[in-house]
Amino acid sequence: MSRLPVITGLGFITSIGHDRPTVLRSLRELRHGFEPVEFLGNPNLPVKVAGTVKGFAFPTPNWRDWSWPAQFSVDRELIRGLAPHGVYALCALQQALADAGLEAAALTDGTTGLFCASAGSPFLLGHFLNQMHATRGERGNPMGIVSSIAGTLNFNLAAHYKISGAVCGFVSACASSSHALGYAMDEIRLGRQQRMLVVGAEDMTDESIMPFASLRALSNNPDPATASRPFDRRRDGFVGTGGAVALVVEDAALAKQRGAHLYAELIGWGQAGDGHSVAASHPEGAGLREAMRRTLADARVNATDIGYVNAHATSTPAGDRSEALALHAVFTANGAKPRVSSTKALTGHGLSLAGAMEAAFCALAVEEGFIPGAAHLEELDPVCIGLDLPCTSLDEAPGLVLNNSSGFGGSNVCHIMRRPA
């Protein structure tokens, strides 16, 4: 008997909202989450906009100085091992579990696993290493490692929720949480787990975003209303963001048995490498093209069956162009014309968070029967001619939805989901 993974719970801590109704309104009305910011206290830096995570503050590396919105609770025992994005992740997972109607006690019997993705916390790691050098190794925070290295999410959340199923972290940069979701689908399909918690998160700090300025990957546009404009001819880089998104994925039969609400069925996923460059995407999107084809094959559907593509497009000149060419190869060349948009126009690029965040947006689109528009798109890049990029959100059921993610080293991951039968 084949097992079908379904999404039964969602939790959001994002630049466009910290709860489902707010996120939904932002996607429907194309309200962005950007604010002017001053990175590193330096007004001379050209990067001036970020997708801020409102209501949370991490002014120093000391957790005693941190704050979060009153509706969330963070245990003292837990917070000493968390990075800022661990706080986001905990808040998102609390929401997702409540949304799925699950108590923490239901997660401990070995049938529930946890896959997470983040880059770790460069903010805390830098602080701890500086402290180590300053004291010549004589002092250190005992929680320094578990709070700051990649894996901090799975270390903390698995221990806190007493998860005894599969626990793992995924590190493929901006494809990380899409890998986490794809392999979570496999855990269900292979019958290894009945339920998977998938969490993607990133800090929103100088240290997590400004290193991308060295790659010339960030937008220098100071206007929050236009700095992130995927597929627009004038795009000049991505806008950074942080936050966390959590998804509860379950075996459909068991989810139905317990009366769970089903957002969407996850019917296929796939991945392919570019085999090209450590940082740049393949100029023709070769890996993404193949990842989309493999995903269609895994889901046993055709390109013409796809109604909406949530593009990875981050608003960089080269990356968006590669993806447009890959979309043409998979869809236009086969007579298919799905709606396409990149919700990073609203949120900014959440790096390891991006894949899970956009999968959750797709689940909302499937459930609510709408298609998020291509925000801030005014002058279409000629390479996109022939793609259907709606400038406003559409009140139409998207049918099958494809979610694209691409990361450093040319890792490309896609998922397909649909409305539950």
């Binding site: 910011v37 801020t52 949370f56 100085d65 005992p142 929103m204």
Partner: protein, 129 residues
């Protein structure tokens, strides 16, 4: 445009001295008690500081104020301290009082009375030097 807001990690605490930074998260009365202890060696003041440190590092909020707990209260079994929290207390205490605590010494400390007596002896030894 809304006014520019600083990105969260900008460290406003950097201007504080190391000692001020250490005391910043303790209650005001604990900071004052620390200075009183440093100036006059007042053992009552030292007690106030030690309870404030324990309250700051205890993993779970205690059912009743630590200062009201009997001296025989055990750090691990009764108060829920784990080895990580005890390490944090040791590092903080070493830095604040300028003392040095070996791992084998701290293993002997099991109760609130043990801890108070131990730190008092260490601080007295420091003063004697």
């Amino acid at each position: 445009m809304t006014p520019s807001v600083p990105v969260p990690s900008h460290n406003k605490a950097a201007a504080l001295t190391e000692q001020q930074e250490r005391l910043r998260h303790l209650p005001k009365e604990a900071g004052e008690a620390f200075h009183r202890f440093q100036a006059a060696g007042d053992p009552v003041a030292l007690n106030v500081v030690i309870f404030a440190i324990l309250a700051d590092f205890i993993p779970r909020k205690p059912a009743r104020p630590l200062a009201e707990s009997p001296g025989s209260t055990r750090l691990v079994d009764d108060l829920g301290f784990d080895s990580l929290a005890i390490t944090e207390v040791v590092f903080f205490t070493e830095d604040l009082f300028g003392i040095s605590i070996a791992n084998e010494e701290i293993i002997q400390v099991r109760t609130l009375d043990d801890l108070r007596g131990f730190i008092q002896r260490k601080v007295n030894a420091r003063a004697a030097r």
